[in-house]
Amino acid sequence: MITIRNLKKTFGEGDKKMIVLDNFNADFEEGKVTCILGGSGSGKSTVLKHMIGVYQPDSGEIKVDGENIVGMNREQMNKVRKKYGIMFQSGALFNSMTVEENVALPLREHTNLNETTIKIMVKMKLEMVGLRGAEHLKPSQISGGMLKRISLARAISLDPKIVFYDEPSAGLDPISIGVIDQLIKDLSNKMGITSIVVTHELASAFRIADKIIMLFKGEIISSGTPEEIKNSKDPRVVQFINGLPDGPIPFSKSQRDYGEELKEMTFYN
């Protein structure tokens, strides 16, 4: 169970200061799949990086199983991280290692299992993502979609309690998306893993989520079960779900008004 209270994060200083998260509150329940939805640049990855202790917030607290991880030192954080499995947006596989070594790394480093057991476990995880037989390949020799699935296999190799997925299905074909969705769901339902999924893919979010949190400019605009989100009357939610170009959510990334910014520009000749 992860609870986030009053999280605030800004990047940059002075003129370039940008508020990415402001007064962010959320609960991620144990054994459930929670999806974080939102447009590009809305702060989804930033929320995730706070939960895994990569960013320190300006203020607020993040509790993992009752422990506040904000301000923890490296050793304390490492203890918490052993409960985690993380699938990165870019895969982040180690390029100098083979697929097998990648998936086996957490097992080799954090357990005392013997080589044979490790080999068997790696095979099992690779079978789960449908890539048994790719053991000897290097990350540069496999496709983008396969990279993601191997990244997932590595994330679950230690049987973590909490798994974070950053865009698990971006760039995959429909069948692979289906497979990954099923996998995320099974991990939560059958093994009681808490899943936190950051995604753009509406269809897959509606399929797998027990709860959806919708973000816009670092603020939660709606949260609830997929049904509640689908029936929401909030114009921002409606715009996002239907993919309408015009509506309350602007396309521009800037936090300042366009007209104001133009007026402030001085012209030299």
């Binding site: 990569v54 993380i86 982040a92």
Partner: protein, 272 residues
């Protein structure tokens, strides 16, 4: 006009202040990384957390064996050049047989460690920054950290240990190549008697010359690895930054090598 002038000065001063603040930040960053690396290489193994021997062997081959040829060639040629250059001066004093002594001492005390380190800064330092920088950009270092694994221990320590063993080894062998280069020129072109050449060389060389040279090359190894890794670990952004920092790593470590060489030379000079 005056206001503009003072404004200009004021801005300049602030900029200088900022530059110093940035410089100080970098120095303290390198210091902390170095301390952590030394801790992981020498103290943690005593506490039952063994070093990654596998990656250390790979790195030793990468930085040592594969750089041997270029280091040997460089020092061999330095020996040849040094012999020819000094022969002219020495012959004016009628002391041409002392060419051997001069070449031997200059190479073991100074040029051997220095040239080997400079060659390695270009060859190995650049490779470290490029490799680790790419890992940083593609979130691999982040992935290590979030798996509760220490990137310093995984990536820097094997490279550090490999270089601190291999650079002194290469330096010793390179010294021999340099002396051999001088010897070849001495006995052929300059026509010095081989026995006399060797005698003069051995007379002049002392054990402490060899050791001061090795001490230096150990320090140079530390500089190459720490600057290379630090500049890789601070990369934020993309491939462009990897290129920039690789260049800075080579330039910075070369300059630091020369500066510290001067400091140590002065130190050993006054020690005697």
């Amino acid at each position: 006009m005056t206001a503009q002038f003072f404004g200009y000065i004021g801005r300049k001063t602030f900029r200088i202040k900022d530059t110093f603040a940035d410089l100080f930040k970098e120095i303290s960053g390198v210091y902390h990384l170095t301390r952590h690396t030394l801790y992981c290489s020498f103290i943690e193994p005593l506490r039952g957390k063994p070093i990654k021997w596998g990656s250390m062997w790979i790195q030793m081959e990468e930085v040592g064996v594969k750089s041997a040829l270029i280091v040997f060639l460089t020092l061999f040629l330095i020996g040849v050049i040094l012999a020819i250059q000094t022969a002219y001066q020495m012959s004016q004093f009628g002391a041409i047989e002392y060419v051997g002594a001069l070449v031997g001492v200059a190479i073991t005390r100074e040029l051997g460690p220095l040239m080997a380190a400079l060659v390695m800064a270009g060859r190995v330092g650049a490779a470290f920054t490029a490799e680790l920088g790419t890992m940083k950009v593609s979130d691999e270092i982040l992935a290590l950290e979030t798996m509760a694994l220490d990137p310093v221990k995984f990536l820097i320590v094997p490279r550090f240990l490999a270089l601190i063993v291999m650079l002194p080894c290469l330096t010793i062998l390179g010294n021999l190549m340099g002396i051999f280069g001088g010897f070849l020129v001495g006995v052929t072109t300059l026509g010095i008697d081989p026995i006399i050449y060797m005698d003069r060389s051995i007379e002049a060389l002392q054990v402490k010359d060899v050791f001061s040279g090795l001490f230096k090359s150990g320090m140079f190894a530390l500089i190459i690895v720490m600057i290379g890794s630090y500049l890789a670990f601070v990369i934020e952004g993309g491939a462009e930054k990897v290129g920039q920092n690789t260049r800075s790593a080579v330039v910075t470590s070369m300059i630091l090598i020369i500066i510290s060489d001067m400091v140590f030379t002065a130190f050993f000079f006054f020690l005697e």
